[in-house]
Symmetry: C2
């Protein structure tokens, strides 16, 4: 059985939460109308990205119980869909977070606060202090990461070990140089992570431009063999694939090779001695 | 300062250790003569791969102190080179291992026994019980993995955390299907691992054919940005690149982003609870 998964490569407008929430609602409606049962939107889809100050980010932030999100939930309800989307979160404690929410027709089911903040995000947001969610849904188990999180191989691996079938990854990937013919490096990381743990990965990048910055538009749906099943480089484009989430529960490559059971964690050294795994770089 | 690194995509002949050791010696001589200071040869370069029985593997095995290896050392000595090569090892305890040695002009400096045995190898070899070596050399710190090891993201990550600048990976990659235009999946894994930890990776595949099996011939030298600097698809071909091993000590992507210092191991869940990280698959 397959589930239609759609990523919408929206172009959020900086500091326009009302407009962004409405554009996202419209995108969810269209995707669900076309049969999507899992819809992924970009990182910071409600706010845009290139804040010049924490004050600017605060002005564009919303709380996870913002009543405007009920409109997203209503669209999800039309198809029994699950939505994963990045948003600029103002916590109950007043701190700002680069977060993602998972919602369905009943409302917000989980909020994840980005653990690995990229570059200047460190000056704007408080880092997450909790592991990402892995949620049971009617379609399978969905894990969530945000952008730079995915570039730490520990993160998708940990979610796969916790049973995620599909990892949804709202992102804002700025354009970086790459050799002709190569995928964006973040997509290479996603392909490797998918194959390493035989898990599905749905990366939803953004489009548009803000203050001179452009994004890679690297949205990609990746299967458990590590190959791209759908992508889009278009402004506002959609990538859709019908994916078999249950297939991600089979971890065997051959009768005698299994990417999870073959692990030898007792020999992973620094990875299982976390007190020694940090702080090398100055 | 750069170091010339050469991988020689040899075609070992099954069950011909004498001939394979001589062919490898000749390959080391040629590479060192052309300026290589780090030379990587394939997995099981002394024995070939497709044994039909443990007895056949035993007949093709050598010990790590086999006197014939002195000829490799003599060739390394001509250029002060370091050689990493796979071999079929008969241990002092009589067990067979899929191993790699690191040698220089002074002789064998380290032996690594493959930790993750691939498929039927489990019926032929005893798995390694020790973490891979990371050796100081005049050119930088060299870590060693063998083939399927590299597909466990924990392994290259752990070597990078232990300070490896370059990871040498003798491999025998059997051909697997892949979409047009894509790299072999094992190369994708190597590219992602290199970039994730900003470490150099030199994968040396084999060529030739044995009992109907063919190899991917995916030899690739990958830089710390995750891009392929040299490769060869030829039978017996060489891939050579002048690589800056010291560059692998810089882990920053920007002033505020560092692929090692940004880790959050306290949130890597199953990876730091090894007792829970195995045995999911049936």
């Amino acid at each position: 059985m397959t589930t239609r998964v759609t990523c919408v490569q929206l172009a959020p407008v900086l500091s326009d939460p009302d407009g962004n929430i409405e554009r996202a609602r419209s995108a969810i409606r269209a995707a669900v109308g076309d049969g999507a049962r899992i819809v992924v939107l970009p990182e910071l889809a409600t706010s845009g990205y290139l804040f010049e100050s924490a004050g600017e980010a605060r002005d564009a932030s919303i709380t996870a119980d913002d009543p405007r999100l009920a409109a997203w939930s209503a669209e999800a309800a039309r198809g029994g869909a699950v939505v994963v989307a990045g948003f600029c979160e103002r916590g109950a404690d007043g701190l700002l977070h680069n977060s993602a929410l998972v919602l369905d027709g009943a409302g917000v089911r989980a909020v994840y606060r980005k653990v690995h903040l990229w570059d200047r995000e460190k000056t704007l947001f408080a880092p997450g202090r909790a592991e990402p969610p892995v949620l049971d849904t009617p379609y399978g188990r969905i894990g969530v990461l945000i952008c730079y999180d995915l570039e730490f191989p520990e993160m998708p691996r940990a979610l796969a070990l916790r049973g995620a079938d599909l990892i949804a990854v709202p992102t804002n990937w700025p354009v970086v140089p790459r050799p002709d013919g190569e995928h964006p490096p973040e997509v290479v990381a996603a392909m490797a992570a998918a194959r390493a743990s035989r898990v599905l990965i749905a990366c939803c990048d953004r489009s548009g431009a803000e203050r001179g910055e452009r994004w890679t538009r690297g949205t990609a749906l990746i299967d458990q063999d590590g190959w791209i099943r759908a992508s889009t480089a278009s402004e506002g484009g959609r990538a859709t694939a019908d994916l078999d989430l249950a297939a991600a529960r089979g971890k065997r490559l051959t009768d005698l090779a299994d990417v999870i059971a073959d692990r030898r964690p007792e020999l992973y050294g620094e990875l299982v001695r976390p007190d020694r795994g940090t702080g090398r770089a100055g």
